[in-house]
Symmetry: D2
Subunit: 270 residues, 4 copies
Amino acid sequence: MGFNSSGTLMSRKKLPPIRSSIAWSDAQTINVHGFDLCKDLLGKVDLGDMAFLQLLRRLPTRNESIVFNSMLVSLVEHGLTANTISARLTLLGAPESLQGAVAAGLLGLGSTFVGTIEGAARLVEENPLDSTEPDAIARKAESILDKFIAQDQPIPGIGHPIHKPLDPRAERLFEIAREQGIDTRGEMLMRAVSRAAEQRLNKVLPVNVTGAIGSISTTLGLPWRITRGLGVMARSLGLVGHLLEEMQQPIAKSIWYHAEEEAEEELKTR
Amino acid sequence: MGFNSSGTLMSRKKLPPIRSSIAWSDAQTINVHGFDLCKDLLGKVDLGDMAFLQLLRRLPTRNESIVFNSMLVSLVEHGLTANTISARLTLLGAPESLQGAVAAGLLGLGSTFVGTIEGAARLVEENPLDSTEPDAIARKAESILDKFIAQDQPIPGIGHPIHKPLDPRAERLFEIAREQGIDTRGEMLMRAVSRAAEQRLNKVLPVNVTGAIGSISTTLGLPWRITRGLGVMARSLGLVGHLLEEMQQPIAKSIWYHAEEEAEEELKTR
Amino acid sequence: MGFNSSGTLMSRKKLPPIRSSIAWSDAQTINVHGFDLCKDLLGKVDLGDMAFLQLLRRLPTRNESIVFNSMLVSLVEHGLTANTISARLTLLGAPESLQGAVAAGLLGLGSTFVGTIEGAARLVEENPLDSTEPDAIARKAESILDKFIAQDQPIPGIGHPIHKPLDPRAERLFEIAREQGIDTRGEMLMRAVSRAAEQRLNKVLPVNVTGAIGSISTTLGLPWRITRGLGVMARSLGLVGHLLEEMQQPIAKSIWYHAEEEAEEELKTR
Amino acid sequence: MGFNSSGTLMSRKKLPPIRSSIAWSDAQTINVHGFDLCKDLLGKVDLGDMAFLQLLRRLPTRNESIVFNSMLVSLVEHGLTANTISARLTLLGAPESLQGAVAAGLLGLGSTFVGTIEGAARLVEENPLDSTEPDAIARKAESILDKFIAQDQPIPGIGHPIHKPLDPRAERLFEIAREQGIDTRGEMLMRAVSRAAEQRLNKVLPVNVTGAIGSISTTLGLPWRITRGLGVMARSLGLVGHLLEEMQQPIAKSIWYHAEEEAEEELKTR
């Protein structure tokens, strides 16, 4: 019998059977979530629809497709960030392994960056509005704020160091969602939380892009626990773009040497 | 001065400046490859178009969009494969780190699986057809085959253990490309290589999905060195889908315990 | 100026200079934490001592070396676990990238498995004993227990599904630490917590190997936040061993196909 | 039945049983490669010996232990390199996932850096000396050189941009190996290759640390295919050290912002 260093696992009776309902295939057919890949999907759905299908087990309506694609598109590219630099440095050491460089880039998508999507989605999922009456929403926002402040935790989905007084991506995503007839209660709640926080903390704290995405993805039916996956999906596309640029005009060595030289200078001048 | 264990790097004079032409932003604007993210892209392009933009620095035409999205869609989901299992096992150990589980899944996208896209793309890129005359194509295919056989290397992009006598995904992707008016010389070459190999080796060796994708992406202008990235992009979407299923009906522990128990039984019966 | 999806970063004034005090080199010398690698370390210290140097910036005494090496040795090999299987599956897909397969294996070392080392180390670090009087220790253990139970959290470092009534690794590690004259207050506290939990919860809950390691590493001076790193260091050695076995007698494909076939059978019999 | 995008796998008859001979355990015992972990290993062997056991399935002699530990110790720490920077950047984004940051760092250990160990080990493994007569060795070195030059490939294990005219680590490792009575034929061959290359190419090309390690590990019985694993093992220790320093005096944000700002300046001055 096996073992591990933890006490939390290992009672191995009555484990569930191994099963997966996502895909099957035979010589002529590949079936994904009940659709024939070649007949029903190829040439008919776009990549965002396919991501929607993977997460919600059905194809989006046309309206949902536009909203869902927009959310993912907004997350693809963030410039020369910590994680695109990490991917580029990894490619320098292992140019034969593109997948390794993308993986290194994805590993930085933790609590500091994309984790706030989760937080905002959870906030909206756990606080459904039973009334769209402004005062009721404001009271709900205040009570949400109370909880975060009592636990000394940052309020997810609001505030941005650069995009002030509004985050243009959040505004545009909410606008698209409204244009496409998506339920706006999530937006109402996030905006109320933003207003309450701005007043209480006396800071500019607009709903940011992760707040909009957290809210809209909850409205579309995504469980909050998987919303970090939206960032992972989108950034994997962005990372491949950065790695192509790195192949064509490499900068990883310059970044490395600059850091090393500054560190050595600092060490010598002590 | 720093050091490393290799003799191939480290002459640090005249390194290029650090630069990246992909994106920049200020308080009101996010610009990606020359487009205003909020005005030009959100609500207007789909996720596949955004991937196209990252790789080719321009938006696709409507025809290209359909073809490119189809290629990516065909790669998203392959069922319970080695790498989706690896991602699920990783989530079991680190449920707090979705990005780590996706990264673990991507790391298996090496030479055995998606690497063949690269091979097919390179074959097409390095053998441009200057004539569409059938005999000329057949001769070129024979000479390509000669080289692979002389070097005792597998011919990329042809053959499939299950999808015989034709790979339905390859057939459908080629059909979509033709419908959308994409240049068909890559298809002609890959089919000629398939025919030549079938005759020479007396086996059923249809152009497979990686052959179709390698060929079409070369036609669209992608450098072969980045084509593995198509698999990486698409599979990251598929992996998030598998991890959502794993959260909802976990099987990783069953897979692990089955393997461990079979291994122990084997050890005991020696 | 760049941007990201989070509001928590990006005020970029007064960032610290880039510096690192770990190593420097010139043509003749490599210096690590103040030691000349070739003269002071090679041939004189073992791999565990080098890990100690990396974490505590000094070489261990002979006693500390024995204790620290033992802790790491105890973590190297855990058989066919979720993460060794994940590493093997990854090698199947990317045999050219050993580092990728090890990385995939490490990614599973999250909160479920090695995370408990951190918890136990933190428990000991945050509850220093000012008296070794048995009743005082028992009272401290009770109050620790109260906190975990009030927060409905598992008590780290105690309990094991297989190793009962005692975890032989924990017993041996504590024994080695005593033989080498290491301060035993951490052991006393962990044992008191175990006893208190056994009485309160009426279960067999011995100090397990992660409890012993968490406690001893705190005694040696390691900050709790880095103790997960002991597991990462040790398991990377174990993973390379598994990958060598996988190269010589591969089983990844058997594990994959078994899982896939069971999943399909289940799908068909619905 | 499942499927994948490659034609090279998937004939699923007669797969081998799932087995692993590395470790087993029951309530009282953990057995690793035939040794009782608690009785035979803990307190008695060091971490390098444990790595040796994982790779060679036996414990090292005292002489072998010193040599093997030295090789690993020489690889632990290389200062602020591309991969330690990548690990630090990853920790910035996902501070909750130390294993992810180490994994990101390991992913850069590809063909550019540690891959040369493999090359040197393979060179020595595939060219066993049947005579230690100097002229015979010189002739063998020349013929090896011929092959690399004919294929236009770099000669692994020789040359270093900084450590000239000799690499002090290589010299010290060879010295330790001789002191411990390890067979010196690998050293003779590598030195002959270095001399031949220096004459032929008129450059300073000493045996470097990867050449010494490749040669000595072959002499100890390691298959060349696993020698990259020595770098992976050792660097995982070094990476944890860098991540501890990053927790205590963070520099990742400074590295990121410097790169981003330089990139933007460059973009603006076009």
